[in-house]
C-alpha cells in the first residue's frame, strides 16, 4: 500500500465560463466525489485542483484535458473521476488503512512504553529521539492496545468509538482509569527498562534466548489478554495473530533496543 500519492484534488468550478449550479446539484455532485475519496474545492478559483468539474459553457478557460462536464450522473461521474485519477496519478480511492495512532505531543512524555509494547513496529524515534509513528500501516485494525498502555492518554485513534482515545478531552477521571487499567511495568513484573536490560544480557546465550522467547510471549499474551478483559476492545484476531515466540522475542528485543537508545543519556549530556 503506497501512501506517497496525494488524494485526487477536484475543483467544483462555478467561475467564468461555467454556469452556477443549484444547491441540490452541488450537494449531489459533492457526495459522489467525496464517496470517490476526492478532495473538492467548491469555489470560483479552482486553485491547484488537478481536475475541474462543472457545467461549462462552450468557451471556457478550463483545461480541456482535465475537465469533467456536468451533468454527469451516477455512475458516470464516478467512472469519469476514476479515469481522471489514473491520468493525473492521484491516489487510488480507499487504498489506505483508516486505523493508525496519532500522538498528542501535549501529553506525550516520551516514556517509550508504547514503543516497547508494540510488537508490530508501528513506533520509532526521530533523530532527536522523540517518539513518532513510523509504520502506521503495520497497525492492527481496531486494536487500541498501545493507547491503553499509555499512562498519559496521549495516543489517539480518531476512528475509535469512545473517549479519550477518539480525541475527546482527557479528564482526570480518564487518567486515573488508565492508570488503574494498565501499568505495563507492573504487568512485566517491575521496572520495564530494567527488565529489558536484564533480558538483553540473558539473550547472549542460546538457552537464554529461548527462555526469553517463552517469557516474552507469555508477557505479551498476559498483557493483551488483560487489556482485552478490561476494555473488551482488543480484536480476537489480534490476540490470535500473535507471532511465534521466537518472532515475539526478536521484535521485543528490537523494540526494547529502540526504547533504550531513545532513553539513554546523550554522550555530551
Amino acid at each position: 500500500m503506497s501512501l506517497s500519492q496525494p488524494a485526487l484534488r477536484i475543483a467544483l468550478y462555478e467561475g467564468a465560463g461555467a454556469k452556477k449550479l443549484s444547491g441540490a446539484a452541488r450537494f449531489e455532485t459533492l457526495k459522489t466525489l467525496l464517496a470517490q475519496g476526492c478532495s473538492v474545492r467548491r469555489a470560483e478559483n479552482p486553485g491547484t485542483a488537478a481536475v475541474w468539474v462543472g457545467d461549462f459553457d462552450a468557451v471556457t478557460n478550463a483545461p480541456e484535458s482535465a475537465t469533467l462536464r456536468l451533468p454527469l450522473n451516477e455512475p458516470s461521474l464516478a467512472e469519469a473521476v476514476e479515469t481522471s485519477r489514473t491520468k493525473v496519478h492521484a491516489a487510488p480511492s480507499g487504498q489506505w488503512k483508516p486505523w493508525f495512532p496519532v500522538i498528542d505531543y501535549d501529553r506525550c512524555t516520551n516514556c517509550m512504553q508504547c514503543l516497547s509494547f508494540c510488537l508490530f513496529g508501528v513506533y520509532g524515534v526521530d533523530a532527536d529521539r522523540k517518539l513518532q509513528v513510523q509504520n502506521q500501516d503495520n497497525c492492527k485494525t481496531n486494536c487500541p492496545a498501545c493507547s491503553r498502555v499509555c499512562p498519559e492518554a496521549a495516543i489517539l485513534f480518531p476512528k475509535y468509538k469512545a473517549g479519550p482515545i477518539n480525541g475527546d478531552v482527557v479528564s482526570d477521571a480518564d487518567l486515573e482509569r488508565e492508570k488503574m487499567k494498565v501499568d505495563i511495568s507492573a504487568l512485566l513484573g517491575g521496572d520495564v527498562y530494567s527488565l529489558l536490560r536484564e533480558r538483553t544480557a540473558k539473550a547472549q546465550s542460546r538457552f537464554s534466548k529461548e527462555r526469553d522467547a517463552d517469557k516474552a510471549l507469555a508477557e505479551r499474551q498476559k498483557c493483551l489478554t488483560k487489556l482485552a478483559a478490561l476494555s473488551a476492545d482488543i480484536p480476537p484476531e489480534v490476540l490470535a495473530a500473535l507471532p511465534s515466540p521466537q518472532e515475539i522475542a526478536r521484535r521485543a528485543e528490537e523494540a526494547a533496543a529502540k526504547a533504550r537508545a531513545a532513553l539513554a543519556p546523550l554522550p555530551n549530556a
Binding site: 478532495s39 474545492r41 500522538i103 505531543y105 513518532q132 480518531p158 480525541g167 478531552v169
Partner: protein, 125 residues
Amino acid sequence: MDATPRLLYCHCQFAQVLPKETKEAVLQALCEAGVEFEAVADLCELSARRDPLLKELAEGGPLKIAACFPRAVKWLFAATGSPLQADHTQVCNLRVETAAAAVQQLLHGELLPNLPAGKGAPPAI
C-alpha cells in the same frame, strides 16, 4: 492574510463515526449557502498520506473545520508537519454537535478558536 475564515468540511468517508444525517445536513447547508469551501473525503486519509492540501489549509489563515474532536484534528494536522494556527482555527465537532448548531457555527458565527492549548510539538518530519 484574509480575515474571512475559510471552511473545511470532512466527510469521514472511511468510518461511520460521524452521524450520517448530521454530516449530510451540514454538507447540504454549505452547498445551498453558495459559499466557497473545501470538502475532503477523510481528514485521516490526508494525514496518513501527508497530503500537501493540509499544509495549504493550515497556513492559509483563519479556518473553520467541520470534523470531529478538536484534539484529534489538531494532531492529525500536526502529524504531517503542518500544525494548525491555534489562534485562527475553530473545529466544529460533528460527532457531538447537532447539524443546526454546526451550520450556525460554520456559516454565521464569528470564529471562536477552540484547539486545545498545549506545549507539545511533533517531531520533525
